[in-house]
Amino acid sequence: MAETQNLFSNMQHSRDAVCRADGLACARGAITVFEGVSFSLAAGQALCLRGANGSGKSSLLRQLAGLLPAAAGTLTHPDPAYGTHYLGHEDGLKAVLTIAETLAFDAALAGYRADNDAYADIAARLGLAGCDWQFVGDLSAGQKRRLTLARLIMDPRPLWLLDEPMTALDAAGRALVTDLAEAHLESGGMIIAASHETLDFADAEVLLGPRR
């Protein structure tokens, strides 16, 4: 089962990858949300974005994912179509699908197909039971959050953009995120996370707003 092994492969990311922002600004309509934001991230490093509500943490992540154009400044980042995972506030989950069907779609978007045992393994690793029959609509907020983490495991991409990764998660769930993040950094990945909490895996912080 060569394809199934793919799911747990400990892939090494390129050590040359960088993610850099120079004098980045973000505008929402006529309002400048932030400006003059600069940082640089090398392989194996993690950055935590901090700032009050409305300071533009999520907007910065969307800019890094290529979903929102930068109002000024330059961004250097991996090609989003191949190199970026973006876990935003909306989970992109479908209530009428089962966990296994959701994972099968994740696998297909990553370009491969696996069998139900492999999906059950992943669900178990994320602390989710009833892979074959449990509908996503019946999961709790924390369980849905766990299910979105499957994308990070199933499709190895160098840059992870995580918006409030600890939201709704219990202690075990937070430990799971930290474990996944540390393994990702060890294999040469990069993480940029927006959070109000202390993230154990973050090497540096960028404080957004208030505007000067």
Binding site: A65, G66, L67, L68, P69, P80, A81, Y82, T84, H85, Y86, G88, H89, E90, D91, G92, L93, K94, V96, L97, E101, F105, A108, L109, G111, Y112, R113
Partner: protein
């Protein structure tokens, strides 16, 4: 290609499981059943009006399904995700439209002969009507998709979708009904009408994915 197939089949799967397909087909039947109550039970009148009525009801049932074509994905964040797959976003859009067509529009067209029975339509007229619908319906879906993508960020934007898409439906309905009429009369060629319908569909197929992708991209900003 695997990603294209996955997006297409997931859309069909969701459409079927959330009851969209059954809902649209039931809507078509209810609307057709109601018509004789409004028009009176004269068989000749119903028969004469049937092709045009079936076209209009098909267009309306199709539009009711279009509201959720991109909106569900927009609201739950799936569209963000589909922008980050190694496939051109225009192709992603096309995959969703194909899924929508197979899951919703094809069942509607297949239900038309049965609905035609209720309007006392002759069996001889059905093949031409069906051929016209098969030629013209891709244009209806693709043009409606433009409306749906422009209204995607509006909550309860279904009516707005209809308002945007309806004017574009006029040529398809004109030639669709004309094809059905021509099929009835001897000596009138049906081919040119079907050709024009197919041309409308082909032109929409070429242009709509780009328009829809652009509209969705700007909505996601």
């Amino acid at each position: 290609m695997r990603i294209f197939a996955a997006i297409c089949s997931q859309h069909m799967h969701l459409s079927w499981r959330s009851g969209q397909t059954m809902l649209a087909v039931s809507f078509l039947f209810i609307a057709i059943t109601l018509l004789p109550f409004g028009l009176g039970p004269e068989l000749n009148l119903l028969r004469a009006l049937a092709p045009g009525l079936l076209w209009v009801v098909l267009a309306i049932s199709l539009l009711t399904g279009l509201e959720r074509l991109f909106q569900a994905d927009y609201e739950d964040g799936t569209l963000d995700r589909l922008l980050l797959v190694p496939l051109a976003f225009e192709a992603v859009v096309l995959a969703k439209l194909l899924g929508h067509y197979l899951a919703l529009v094809l069942p509607l067209i297949l239900a038309v002969p049965l609905a035609g029975l209720l309007l006392n339509i002759e069996a001889a007229r059905l093949p031409v009507l069906l051929a016209a619908m098969l030629c013209g319906s891709p244009a209806l879906v693709l043009l409606g998709g433009i409306g749906a993508s422009l209204a995607v960020s509006v909550r309860r934007g279904g009516l707005l979708t209809v308002l945007i898409a309806m004017p574009f439906y006029v040529p398809v309905l004109i030639f669709g009904a004309a094809a059905a009429r021509a099929g009835l009369e001897t000596g009138v060629a049906v081919g040119p009408y079907l050709g024009i319908l197919a041309a409308l569909s082909a032109a929409s197929l070429l242009l709509a994915p780009f328009a829809i992708a652009a509209a969705l991209r700007s909505a996601l900003r």
